[in-house]
Amino acid sequence: MAKKVLCVDDDPAVVVAMETVVEESGYTPLTAPNGEEGLRKVRAEKPDLVILDVLMPKQSGIKMYRELKTDQELKQIPVVIHSGIARRTFLRSQEALTEFGDEPVAEPEEYLEKPVEPEEIAETLKRILG
């Protein structure tokens, strides 16, 4: 069975494009418009990789990332961050959360800064999922 890739993004245009890239790369796309929905799908479908936008309403991207990286059952799912904010800013926001008492979290498997060429996403998927 084809591997499953979950795309979480509040921009429907991005979701459609991602779906296409995932399909073209030979995987099964799953989608979610926000972090809460994303987490539900992760637990229900156990995808092999998550492509995640960080800047979504109500900080749901940042929260979902922490959840993914701290939950024992989800920890090993590779996460590709796909975001408009710089990698540096994202890592700093995670560090800040750590300073507030949360446990430190691992860095994402890949960080792609928007705008990203679809080909680059396809390559990333291949590299991680094989």
Binding site: D10, P12, K58, P115
Partner: protein, 505 residues
Amino acid sequence: MTKVLLIDDEESIVRVLFISLKSDGYDVLTAYTGEDGIRLFQKETPDIVLTDIKMPGMNGIEVLKAVKESNPDAEVIVITGHGDMDSAIEALQHGASDFINKPIRDDILALSLQRAQEKLAVKRKLKEYTDDLENMVQIATEEIRRKSEFLNKLITSSHDGIVATAENGEIVIFNPAAEEIFGYSRIEVLRKKTLFDLYPPDIAEHFRRALSQERGPKPMNWQEVTIQRKDGISIPTGFSGTLLLEGELVIGTVGFFQDLREIKRLEENLIRSERLAAIGQTVAGLAHYIKNILSGLKGGTYTVNVGLDKQDMIKLKKGWDIIQQNVSRISTLVMELLTYSKDREPEYEKCSPNKIVEDVCALMEATANEHGIEFIRDLDHSIGEGMMDPNTLHRSLLNLVSNAIDACIFDLGSEKRWQISVKTSLKDNAILQCDVTDNGCGMSEETKKNIFSSFFSTKAGRGTGLGLLVSRKLVNEHGGDIVFTSEEGKGSTFTIRLPWKGSRA
């Protein structure tokens, strides 16, 4: 030792008295004629002169006169013949301190000399006191001079212009800073001009009234005043002034003028640099937003290409939709930027606000229903037509309604039945009010503070962060405003208020 000059033509008397005075401890000088006596007096300046009246040549009275003329402080005791009261009286009249009769008795002479010495002592004391007093007056005068000079320096070196006048308005103090502000020199103004010639009319008028009333001073609080300088240049100043009083009596006025040119210049610089900072922020916000659009366009073209390659019409359609959406996002952004950056006069025309509200609702209702949001119209149908810019209400209302929809969509994980209501009403027939109420996610205190900041958006990449700003600008230009209340988790109400000149339906 007291010096005594003894003048007598009788040698025997001189000899006896010399010995007697010497033994009493005086420093004694002797002369046998009046002439010699005076010479000696002028040379030796004795304190006391003891002279016989009857002498050949210059007599005692003449000696007395000469001595008093030469030194009025010298004490003269005359020796008179027995019973010569007339001479004694004359001598006293000419300032002799005492007289003694011949034959001279030692005890009387001693007493007389003692009295003379006491008089001398008193005179010396008096002179000391007088000298002291003069000294003190001089010191006091010096002190006053120093103080007045100090005050003068204080006024002269003040960075503020100081103008003081007499009670008739005539200028009596005009410091260098005032010269700089008014463009007149001291010479041109002092005692030649009045405050009515120099001060701006309203301030001059205030002083005129204050000076003509006798109900105590009314200080003029700090205010910005523009001074028309002699050369015609306008100088912005901070002015304060008051009447000068001595007790109850008005003795003049004083005005303080602070040159604000430098401060104004700094203020302008600050505003300019703030504007540059704002432009910097704007560019950063803009770049971020455009990045998202670009990302959408790339995804769209990729999807279209895939659709073309595979002859997959569904993919093609999806990709094409993405491209169209992002093109329309660009045009929205450009329109908002233009509206935001350009001043715009409202274009008034006769129109019906309720009709505009209906149009907006019709546009947005489908989207709202898609997300399970109920749409409620609550229109005051008595509102007729009025003169207003339909565009202002249309665009700002569209913005508020789409914000309300987003607020419901973002209200994640709640079990609410979402509702958006749009209500129109007239306040006092003078203000058109349009409320957009939602029961969505509401706003945090932080968000409330920032909603009118440029490029502030809680919608991540989906909002330009300009919508509310543009709406408020449009409404402000129309003479109205936008106000809101919000509670986190409960929802928000935004209200557009516009001045209303129109009829009832």
